[in-house]
Every structure is written in C-alpha cells, then in structure tokens.
C-alpha cells in the first residue's frame, strides 16, 4: 500500500458489532484512518458501512442492547474509544458527524451552528459570533446566509441545510468528521458542492465517508474500503481499488457485475 508514511488518526482493530437482537453486523474489521485523508466506505445496502461509521462516535450507545467487541484506537491519545471507561460525550466532542438526511434543529441558522459551542458551555457572544462565521465560511454557506442568520434553519433548501449541518459539525473544531451518505438526499448540484467541500476540509481534519455511490468515492476519497455482509473485503488506495482491485469480489462490485 502506498503512502504508508502518512500518520494514522484512528484505527479499527478486529472490530465486531452486535445489535440488540443478537445480529452480528460487523465481523472482525481492522483498518486505519489516515490523518488529513478522506476514506470512503463502499458496498451494497446492508453491508454494515453505516454501522461501522457509527461505531467511531459511539452512536450505537443511544440504543440499549447494542454491543461492541474489539477496538477503535484514536491517536494521539492511544485510547480505545469503545472502552467502557471512555465517555461517549467526550468522544463526540472530537469526532463529529453529518447525517444522511439534513437534520437541522428547530432553531435559527445561527443557533444551529452555535449549538455545539453552547452544549460545551460557551456563552461569550464575541467568540460565538466568530466561530459561527468561521464555520459557515468553512461550509461555503456564509455568503448565502450572512444577512439572515436569525431565520429558521428549515427555510433553507436541502443542500443549504446539509451545508448548515456541516457548519454545525465544524464549529467545534473536530478532529475526525463522519459523513453518513451525506448527499443521498440531494440534487446533483448540491452534491457537487458538498463533495468539493469535503475535499477542502481534508486539510483541517480526517474524514470517513459512507457512500453507496461508487463514483462519489472515486471522485473524493484517498482511500476506499469495500465491505460486504459485515466484512471488510478490501482496503486500499482509491486509485488502486478502482483500477486494479486485488480481490475478485471488489472487482465484481466496482464493475457492476454485482450489487
């Protein structure tokens, strides 16, 4: 694998995951996330991509009965974020997430972006104003909303709402950002905006993105992982995965023979 010198930001080690009904959704997944790179997870529906992504910020903790086995080690802390002694809230403060469907809060544009700062106890208006502006600029939304920051977020278009959700996730300076099929509810133009944004964000943070659009993975990511039925089939440079995959299963999926 090329670029082996790139620093590792986080790493799954023999990760298994079980839903409360006992179903084993992830089977012994081990793979690194390289710092300041975009890693894409591809695979057919139900293969466990989203399940895997949601392990990183412990979203599965919200539903009783779910069980992790194995490790997700975050660097430089060298800590297994799945350990029972780790506070999921602290994890989520450093690993933020953008969802499949834009899910702004029933608040103003400004308050949506300020939300993460407020839950962290920040109340200084000057700091807040600066952070909100910075995050909205980072999400390429500032010019469109700067004159109506106190409008309700629901009045924005779907693509704008998704960029607002990215701004919201950016405002707290996360180290890793998880994108769970961030463009599946958007039109092609909005999709292109979000993809461009992800590439820009790469310089600031590490990105893990689930997509079931293979072309999207090819366009934006540096590394691609192909998953099938809860297993990691292949993980490599995106270029290699799409031009010369090492496994027959990957090739079948990439070329559309399957899936």
């Amino acid at each position: 694998m090329a670029n082996i010198n790139t620093a590792i930001k986080a790493e799954a080690r023999d990760l298994n995951f079980f839903y409360s009904n006992g179903a084993r959704a992830l089977k012994g997944i081990s793979m690194p996330l390289y710092e300041n790179k975009i890693t894409a997870l591809i695979g057919p529906s139900g293969c466990g991509k989203s399940t895997f992504l949601r392990c990183f910020n412990r979203m599965h903790d919200l539903y009783p009965g779910n069980k992790y086995e194995g490790q997700i080690v975050m660097y430089p802390d060298n800590t297994n974020v799945l350990d029972a002694g780790v506070d999921p809230i602290e994890v989520r403060m450093r690993i933020s997430m953008v969802f499949q469907k834009p899910n702004p809060f029933p608040k103003s544009i400004y308050e949506n972006v300020a939300y993460g700062l407020r839950v962290r106890g920040e109340n200084n208006k000057r700091i807040m104003d600066d952070k909100v502006e910075e995050a909205l600029k980072g999400a390429a939304l500032w010019n469109e909303v700067k004159d109506r920051l106190h409008d309700l977020a629901f009045n924005l278009s779907g693509g704008q709402q998704q960029r607002l959700c990215i701004a919201r996730a950016l405002a707290t300076d996360p180290e890793i950002m998880l994108f769970d099929e961030p463009t599946s509810a958007l039109d092609p133009i909005a999709t292109a905006n979000i993809e461009e944004l992800m590439v820009e964000l790469r310089s600031k943070l590490t990105i893990l993105v689930v997509t079931h659009n293979m072309q999207q993975a090819a366009r934006v990511s540096d590394y691609t992982a192909y998953m099938y039925l809860g297993e990691l089939i292949e993980y490599d440079d995106t270029d290699r995965i799409f031009t010369n995959p090492g496994r027959k299963e990957t090739e079948d999926y990439i070329t559309g023979k399957f899936g």
Binding site: P64, N103, Y115, R118, V119
Partner: protein, 313 residues
C-alpha cells in the same frame, strides 16, 4: 403504434359488462349518508347549545344592561336586592384555573420529558397507564379529596384558611389535569424524529440538553395544544370547585379565600327550582355564554400559537 391501422368509427354502446352498477352505487350512497349523519350529530349539538345560550342570554340582556353585567362587582341574581356583575364569578374561575395550571404545567411537562426522553421502555409502560388512570377518577371524588384532605392539610400550615378556599380546589384540579398535559406532551415529543435527537447527541450533547434544547422546541406545537386543552379543562371544571372552593360569589383573586366560579354558580342554580323565564333562570345562560366565550378564546389563541410553531420536520 404508428404502423397499426385505426379501427373504423362505429356507433358506441355501453356494454352491460361496463354499465353502472345501480345496486352498488345505492349501497355506497347510503353508507356515505350514515357516516355524514354521525359526523353531523356533534356539529348540530354544538350549534344547538350555542343557539340556546344566545337565545336565553338575549332575554337576560333585555333586563340587565351589558355594561352592568361586566362592571358591577356583585353577583346576586337570586336576592331581593339583585346585582348582575359577572366579574366575581370570572375572578373565581380565573384564580382557580391559574392555580391549577401553575401546578399542572410544570409537573406535567417535566413528567412528559422524563417519560419521553429518560424513562426506559419498561418504566414508561408502567408509569403511563397509572398516570392515565387519574383521568378515570370521577371529578366529584377529587372535589371531596380537596375538601377533606388537602384543605385540612393546608390548614395545618396556615390555620386561618377557610374550609372553602380556591387554593385547595386549584391544587387538586391541577393534579387532576396533570395526565392530560403529560400524556399529550409525551406523544408530541415522541413524535420528534430520532434523526433530530441523533444530530444533537452527535454534537456531544447530553440527554438533558437534547431534551430541553432540541426535542421540546421541536414539539412546541403539540405541547401548546396540551396546555390549551388543560386550560379548557380547568376553566370548565365544575365539581371540584363547587365542592371545595365554595358557593359564594366574591370578587377576589386571593387564593386563600373561597369564591364561586361560573361553573359552580351554574350547577348550584340549576339544581334549585327556578321558574322558566325568570331572570335567575336566564342568568344561568348568560354565565354559560361567558364561559363558552372564554374557552373559545383560549382555543383560538392556542390554535394561533400552534400555527406559528408548527413542526417543520
């Protein structure tokens, strides 16, 4: 298809296999009629009530001027020296209702937040039915509970409290309407999509922050609807106030005094034997009209607030 030749035009007939099925159509119309009649029952009753209230009130206002009705400070329609000021009854109604809401709104809302956001599935399935059991308790039982349990309890703290007082009636009425607020608000909060909660948790919010800052605002419209229903319940409640708050119309907002409410007056007078057409008889309808206008205006305000904060998800 372009290559296919069109059939030659021919006189069209309705084949018996496609003709209108009279029997089915008639049956369908009859069912439709029955359904509409059922719906009309409620509507017609409402109009009939409004009609009777208005009709009798008009006769009442032929004797009593509207100005006196709203400005006089005494309500003694059955006395030799009759006064017709509705305000003493309105003050009693508003005071008891305000106390009831002061009890029911915070407790009901907090209960709803607990049930919707904090309680485990098992706890919710246990607590909710018990809470809803409160709705099934006859209001007269609540009335005597206020008079014989809560009032003596309050008197042990504040001995000067009269046996009939609005505080005790208001508190018990509040307890009585907690289930309405809790149950409806809980439904509204549970209807908030999980994706919104996940968005909040993913930002590092705690459960309490998520409940207060995201779920409750998203459910505002439903919660306000619950409050409005509670207001209407409190304003229209009869037995608790008639039993525990006293029957003496007094123009006061002091909860430590006893005072009659509009409903208490109506039930008191309606149980006596007043001759039809007498001014005392008509005063019931004038009081009822005021009550209805009050509830109606609360409902309109509530409707307006709900429209303003309707859910966007």
């Amino acid at each position: 298809m372009a290559t296919q030749a069109m059939q030659a035009p021919m006189e069209l007939t309705i084949s018996p296999r496609l003709a209108k099925n009279i029997r089915r159509n008639v049956k369908e119309r009859i069912i439709e009629l029955i359904l509409m009649l059922a719906a009309l029952t409620a509507v017609a009753t409402t109009f009939a009530i409004v009609g009777v209230l208005l009709y009798e009130s008009v006769s009442f206002f032929k004797t009593v001027s509207v100005v006196e009705f709203f400005t006089a400070t005494e309500w003694t329609p059955l006395f030799e020296d009759a006064h017709y000021g509705i305000m003493p009854l309105v003050s009693g109604t508003l005071t008891t209702s305000a106390i009831a809401l002061a009890v029911a709104v915070p407790i009901g809302t907090i209960t709803a937040i607990f049930l919707s956001e904090f309680a485990s599935h098992k706890a919710r399935e246990t607590v909710k039915p018990i809470l809803e059991l409160l709705v099934g308790v006859p209001t007269v039982v609540f009335g005597y509970f206020a008079l014989f349990f809560v009032t003596p309890l309050l008197q042990s703290v504040y001995p000067e409290l009269p046996s009939f007082n609005m505080l005790s009636a208001g508190i018990v009425m509040g307890v009585m309407i907690i289930p309405y607020i809790a149950s409806l608000s809980e439904d509204a909060m549970r209807a908030v999509p999980m994706s919104m909660r996940e968005g909040s948790y993913a930002m590092g919010a705690t459960r309490f922050q998520t409940a207060i800052k995201v779920v409750a605002p998203a459910a505002t419209s439903g919660i306000v609807a619950a409050y409005i229903l509670a207001v209407s319940r409190a304003v229209g409640e009869t037995m608790v106030v008639a039993v525990a708050a006293g029957q003496q119309p007094t123009l006061t907002f002091n909860p430590l005094e006893g005072a009659a409410t509009i409903t208490a007056y109506i039930v008191q007078v309606a149980m006596g034997d007043l001759p039809h057409g007498s001014i005392g008889y008509q005063s019931i309808f004038a009081a009822g009209l005021v009550l209805m206008v009050m509830t109606l205006s609360f409902n309109i305000i509530g409707h307006w607030i709900r429209k303003k904060y309707r859910e966007h998800y």
